[in-house]
């Protein structure tokens, strides 16, 4: 193993420019991933705050009998993902409107009838506050005889989720492009290293060294390049986080296990790219 480490380090010295370029490209690929992670993490924090407010409101008919309302509450409570169902009477609805909108309070004394309908507010369990659960509950509520109309913030729920999806696709596309370039550069660096050591490698093959023994220094070189790229990406992501927090708005730093995952991804990527290259070029000797 000591030999393999020494060989890997000498590979770095042999082609420092290529090694630097490889690490830079891995770093850029991982930076895209890092920035997306930063955005996704903060979006997730924001979403979870908003998700707590996700609810379905089922407005009741004017002539709803108490027995139909009870049946509606029972049906909605039995649906998967539902935490509880709250009955809001016409009077409660008016009171709430007056509290939230002062103008209504001013005209309320002139009202001959209360225009606000009674409603059932359906709240969801954590983990079920997503568009699928909301859709299922609102469809079931619409089928109930006591219910006249159903409302929920469908548009903004879906918009938030699609925003996250677009972010992920963009990060994958950009990250993938950088990763491809990084793989090509790592491959070239490994090819140069294999070429520089071709005499030794051919003797190793001649006398019966195992493939793993021959490949180890090159794999190690790839893993070290990937790790350097990961560190670079971490540094740049941290810098971006500090700059955004200082000049634009406060953002939370990603959790430590995400950081370790990013560094691990760099190592695995470097290993994979050098593994593919070394297998290919060793056959040429």
């Amino acid at each position: 193993m000591a030999n393999a480490v020494a060989e890997a380090v000498s590979g770095f010295r042999r082609a420092p420019l290529l090694t630097g370029l490889s690490a830079l490209m891995v770093g850029l690929a991982l930076l895209v991933l890092g920035l997306f992670s930063l955005a996704a993490y903060n979006l997730r924090l924001a979403l979870s705050a908003l998700e707590e407010r996700v609810e379905v409101v089922a407005f009741l008919r004017e002539d709803t009998r108490a027995v139909d309302m009870e049946a509606a509450i029972q049906t909605l409570e039995s649906l998967p993902g539902v935490e509880d169902v709250l009955y809001v009477s016409k009077a409660d609805a008016l009171q709430r409107a007056m509290t939230e909108i002062p103008e209504i309070a001013e005209i309320s004394s002139d009202l001959e009838v209360n225009p606000f309908p009674a409603s059932l507010e359906v709240r969801f369990l954590p983990g079920s506050r997503n568009s699928e659960a909301v859709e299922t509950v609102s469809s079931a509520a619409r089928e109930l005889p006591a219910v006249e109309d159903v409302r929920y913030g469908r548009e903004w729920v879906e918009r938030l989720f699609s925003l996250r999806r677009i972010g992920a696709i963009t990060a994958l596309g950009l990250g993938g492009a950088f990763a491809l370039v990084a793989a090509l550069i790592i491959g070239t660096a490994i090819r140069i290293a294999v070429f520089a050591r071709r005499e030794e490698i051919s003797i190793m093959q001649l006398v019966g060294a195992k493939d793993g023994y021959i490949q180890r220094p090159f794999l190690l070189e790839g893993a070290m390049t990937g790790f350097l790229g990961g560190l670079l990406a971490l540094l740049l992501t941290w810098g971006t986080h500090r700059a955004v927090s200082q000049f634009l708005f406060t953002v939370d730093w990603i959790p430590p296990n995400w950081v370790l995952g990013g560094l691990g991804a760099g190592v695995v990527f470097g290993l994979g790219a050098s593994g593919l290259a070394v297998r290919r070029y060793l056959r040429e000797i």
Partner: protein
């Protein structure tokens, strides 16, 4: 121990190199593989070493078949088959000791054992006083002895030699051949490719195979 069963080999650009060769080399035999340049001697040795696969037929070496041995398992064959070349193929920046030690290291010999074993092998080759010499300081005959010591590092069952005396003078040639006989006397099979028929006649006890344009045209074992 070595079996070639209806082996043919052809290359996309140059065409057939060997055609329908069948032969058996038992353990401990000394074989001269003769023929003109381009007759297929080197191809035969490379097939036995499994550096190449036959286009048709099968090569078997000490239980390993060319049809079933994967690339990942080739190292097992290589450790049973030593190989020396006309141009020695030593690592230029190393000493005689360094070259033999390298072969021992890469084949997994324990660190503490590498130096004593390399010294023993070089002493067997008559190079005990040259262990610290850089290879470019050695004569051709001495360099070939280092190459033979390296080939014996994994204690193989057979030693293949491709024109090993092609670059040597008469005296060095005799020395190398005597070394091969000694190695053979210890029970190791030796297959030596040479176009030098004078050399072959000097050792009448050896089996002689002659190749011509990729075909086996003479086998002294069958002639007897």
């Amino acid at each position: 121990m070595i079996k070639l069963l209806n082996v043919s080999k052809s290359y996309p650009r140059t065409g057939p190199a060997l055609e329908d060769i069948s032969l058996h080399v038992p353990k401990g035999q000394f074989v001269f593989l003769t023929g003109h340049s381009g007759s297929g001697k080197t191809t035969t040795l490379r097939l036995i070493h499994m550096g190449e696969r036959p286009s048709a037929g099968e090569v078997r070496v000490s239980g390993f078949s060319s049809q079933r041995t994967s690339r990942r398992e080739l190292w097992k064959v290589r450790r049973r088959v030593g190989f020396v070349f006309q141009d020695f193929r030593l690592l230029p920046g190393r000493t005689a000791m360094g070259n033999v030690a390298f072969a021992l290291e890469v084949t997994g010999t324990q660190k503490t054992e590498v130096r004593p074993q390399a010294e023993r092998l070089l002493t067997q080759m008559g190079l005990s006083s040259k262990t610290g010499s850089m290879v470019h300081e050695l004569s051709g005959g001495e360099q070939q002895r280092v190459a033979i010591a390296r080939a014996l590092a994994s204690d193989p069952l057979v030693l293949l030699a491709d024109e090993p005396t092609g670059n040597l003078d008469e005296r060095a040639t005799r020395g190398i051949l005597e070394l091969f006989w000694k190695i053979n006397a210890l029970g190791m099979a030796v297959v030596m490719a040479t176009h030098d028929l004078e050399l072959v006649r000097t050792y009448p006890r050896a089996r002689v195979l002659e190749l011509d344009q990729g075909r086996l045209v003479f086998d002294s074992a069958e002639a007897d």
